[in-house]
């Protein structure tokens, strides 16, 4: 059973209550509770539930953004207090909006979901040159590269990025997402996975990673 405070933290995120997230995070520290557990069982759990509500059509982008604001407000307080060696990252992910595209709202939501789930995220931003993804994946040793595009023309950069990532590291997992994409197009581009929502992106990454490790 999660601690009662962690449950409240989760609710604060789900209810988009940034002030409560701050107050409760401070209380976690004041009471000497474990910061990492508070993040995972509280803040991240709230964000995960928000993602579920989005998938179910109850929350939309405005609500998700405000949940993310509450999440980050709590993380800012709790993260510095994670004990060394305690935090086990699920993995490293390099994320960005592909070259030619400046629409980053979807990418930012995916980033939030990855961070909430305990991934180490390397965000390249938007309108990212093709070769940067592979360079960053190699630099940080990321196991996942996540590509986003909103424009039909800019998604054409994806197969080139996938080729460049895979030729440098055939074991790297590449996910794609964005309005013009579909599972068929993703497969045709050589991506390992496709996700239609931010939450699904993380679930897909987790599943692919676990399959590749087994």
């Amino acid at each position: 059973m999660p601690h009662a405070l962690f449950k409240k933290l989760s609710e604060a995120v789900l209810k988009m209550d940034e002030e409560a997230a701050v107050e409760l995070s401070r209380k976690v520290l004041d009471e000497g509770l474990d910061a990492y557990s508070a993040i995972i069982e509280g803040l991240a759990e709230g964000m995960s539930q928000a993602g579920t509500l989005y998938d179910g059509g109850e929350y939309y982008v405005p609500e998700l953004l405000l949940c993310a604001d509450a999440l980050y407000a709590g993380l800012d307080i709790l993260r510095p207090h994670i004990k060394t060696g305690e935090a086990k990252f699920r993995g490293k992910v390099v994320i960005g909006v592909v070259e030619g595209d400046v629409h980053d709202i979807g990418k930012n939501l995916v980033k939030t979901m990855f961070e909430a789930e305990g991934w180490e995220v390397y965000d390249l931003g938007k309108d990212v040159k093709v070769e940067r993804f592979s360079q960053e994946q190699q630099r940080v040793g990321a196991c996942v590269v996540a590509l986003s595009a909103l424009m039909t023309t800019s998604m054409l950069a994806m197969p080139k990025i996938i080729e460049s990532v895979k030729s440098a590291d055939p074991g790297a997992i590449v996910l794609v997402g964005g309005a013009p994409l579909s599972p068929e197009i993703a497969a045709g581009y050589g991506a390992d996975g496709y996700a239609d929502t931010a939450k699904n992106a993380v679930v897909t990454a987790r599943n692919l990673l676990s399959a590749s490790n087994s």
């Binding site: 988009m16 405005p62 030619g100 400046v102 709202i105 039909t152 023309t153 309005a179 197009i185």
Partner: protein
Amino acid sequence: MQKKRDSSKDRIGCLLSGQRIDRVPVSTFILGFAASATGCSTADIYSDPQKSFEAQLKTRDIYGYDSDPFFGYASYGAWEFGAKIRLPHGPYQQAPAVEGRLPVETEKDVEALELPKLACDGMLPGALPLALEFSRLQKKHGMRISVVLGGSFTVSVNIASEARLCRWMIRKPDLVHRILRVVTDHLVGVLTLWAEIFGAVNVVPQLWEPAASNQIISPGLFEKFVLPYQKELHEKTLELGINHILCHICGAHEKNLPFWREIPMGNPGIVSFGTEVPLRTAVRTFGSRCIIAGNIRPSTLQTGSKELVRTLCREAIENAKDAPNGFILMPGCEMPVNTPPSNLQAMIRASEEFGRY
């Protein structure tokens, strides 16, 4: 000298005036594709009205679709309210994008937001001088005049950013209402100017609304923030004497359709849909008062085979051909720059094959 078009060949004009046509017209938002088809740059399409017009005219002559050349871009608003715009360049860009600081980044910016001055003697902001020049070319060639603007919400997003507007709709709704007020007044001002210059009955404005889709906002927020301003924009447009509005309801708007139904489109209006809204639903919702247009998925046009495009076009035609005010076969949004020519040809052939009346 003004060239007069053979009106019997103007299928869309026939639909607008309630006349019979031989087959389903094919219309496209073709911009960057026209550049690649004719050898000019995509940037020219958005920055050189003469080149843009000629490229689009030549492309229409090559392929034989029905829609006229037009000038416009989806990020309308930012430049017109004082930001900078970057013309498309490189292999992966298809349209201008906003560069640098947006007109609205702080609450103070909202308070300071002013209507850009509009006068046809060179005092037009942003892309409007180019749009005006383009409209004069349309007039010269005897075409309908199509000024392209975003809906009130999309232009507000272009001015203030989607994320900012999303947060403010819940946290600071008054700021969003203030932006929407100024933007709506601006859009009505532009349409008033076009009606004065070209004659209201000759103007068929295009109002594109992608940002208010349910991929971004809930139907509840649509009702509160989009409906009142979009309705006012359309009502005031029609009060000017403009008879037809082409409203591009872009993206997933199915849950917003009850609200869109409250918005007048003209007599008849043209309502074009993205792939996300089934055409049968579109016909059921708007068919009695509007021409329905849509909705072949642009990414399929870009990446799919011509056989797949033909199949999708056939389905679209079968679903909407007999709409009371007619149907126009269109992509669900802009025809992608890199669409294989055979896929555009497949659209037109599908109309010839399956769209006969």
